[in-house]
Amino acid sequence: MHSSAALAEQFDDLEQQHESSSFGMWVFLATEVMFFGGLFTAYIIYRNFYLSAFEAGSRLLDVKIGAANTAVLLCSSLTMALGVRAAQLGKKKLLITFLVLTLLLGLAFIGIKLGLEWRHDYLEGFAPGVNWTFHGPDSRHLELFFCFYFFLTGIHALHMVIGAGILTVLIIMAGRGRFSPQRYNPVEVSGLYWHFVDIVWIFLYPLLYLIGGRY
């Protein structure tokens, strides 16, 4: 019953609905670019002021775990894209499989980031304001680096959590047969969101982990 395309009242036809929905998501992603952009700008400025402290901070992060997380996210983008494709083709079981995989990979990312990396940093005394025990030279600027590390990855993780919530809703909707080749737009725009969150990480990883002056 619900697999027939549901045209919302305000739209004249499905095409208008589809286009509006996608366009709306792109506009929203533009706002997200500005949101993260502000934070990136502040980070880059401080890195410029306090290069050695920020490089030292960067070296204290675990590149391998970061790389693993990057791989996890990239895979999740793949599964998400495949899920969108499945929705386009009307393949319900495949869609659900890919959505679940994406969700699991996303949760894995969050688990690694929070459970492994953040926990490690906290225990080692590198958590500004909460547990900062490092008192060596230039510790204040190092603390600033870690502020940005936690803010950037934290806000990113928040977006991942929201994404996980969206995926859950999609999985439920897919399970109830709400998507069809005529109406799969929610999956598509959620895919756009997911890819965006992935791209933010692609910027975060090098800017935080890889520019410690060790190469």
């Binding site: 402290a53 030279p137 230039d138 204040r140 600027h141």
Partner: protein, 349 residues
Amino acid sequence: MWQGFPIRPEQASTIARGVDHLYYFLTAVDLFFTALIFLTIFYLAIKYRRRSAETKATQVEGNLPLEVIWTIIPLGICAVTFLWGSSLFIRNSRPPEAATEIFVVGKQWMWKLQHPEGPMEINELHVPVRRPIKLTMTSEDVIHNFYVPAFRVQKDVVPGMYTSIWFEATRTGRYHFFCNQYCGTNHAVMGGYVIVMSPDDYEQWLSGGIRGESMVSAGAKLYEQLACITCHGTGKGPPFVNLFSSQVKLTDGTTVTADEAYIRESILYPSAKIVAGYQPLMPTYKGQVTEEQILQLLAYIKSLSSGGAGQPGKPTSYPPSLEGGRQGAGNQTVGGQQSPATVPVPKGP
């Protein structure tokens, strides 16, 4: 000006008239265009009023030449105003050579003003007339702003950095100064008076009253008391002779100018910049020196640079290119302590 209803503060500095002239020009432009628009609206709205329900409008789509004209003319006025204002601003921002430097520390909710010869004032500033005065300022807590309407100058006073303004008073008298950046509960009462005196009266004022030490001599004392001398006087740390305004090479290969900000940072955050060829051994003095003491150490270190009386250097918030010279020594902002015979012979390393 019409007695009893002033439209501008007294013109008590060398730049006041210039600023006022530009202000009058802008006022004339504003009033002219406002009147033009209001009167045109009046005229058109009355001439073309709807006399009855049958009154028809004549449709006029637009007029390209008119659009061009009323874009170009405002653009022209803006260009003139911008050029006038910027050139005046640049000129007004450059302290003349031989400006007397006075140091200002703002804090919630009072001002401490330190003369190089020693006297320190609270919420009052005595200065001689017709002598350029440069104020080098910092804050101990939040952002403040030192504003003297009669001189037409103000600048934010920011914690963690030095900002500066200069003025040359043209008339004796008492002129209000205010804190002009909201800074908390008693922001509105954080002000005082600049008291401009004749040179003779000023000398008398300087020598009367409680005579503090000159800043250079206080700084020299701190240099020993805080044990700076144990490293910087023995080769373990970089020497201070001719340090101020020089180019310093760091261990990471970069070069910086040893200005006020660099020296202040080195006292508080010594590990931030290590001079090439030295070890990162210096402990921090954060929490052990007040902003005033840092200024005294600065005065002392400046006094050790060539020129004998020291070069106060340019305000650190301006890029070198606009100071008309390269960074550091030899620029136009050279000035020195003005008071006679009170600068001690520097006890250098």
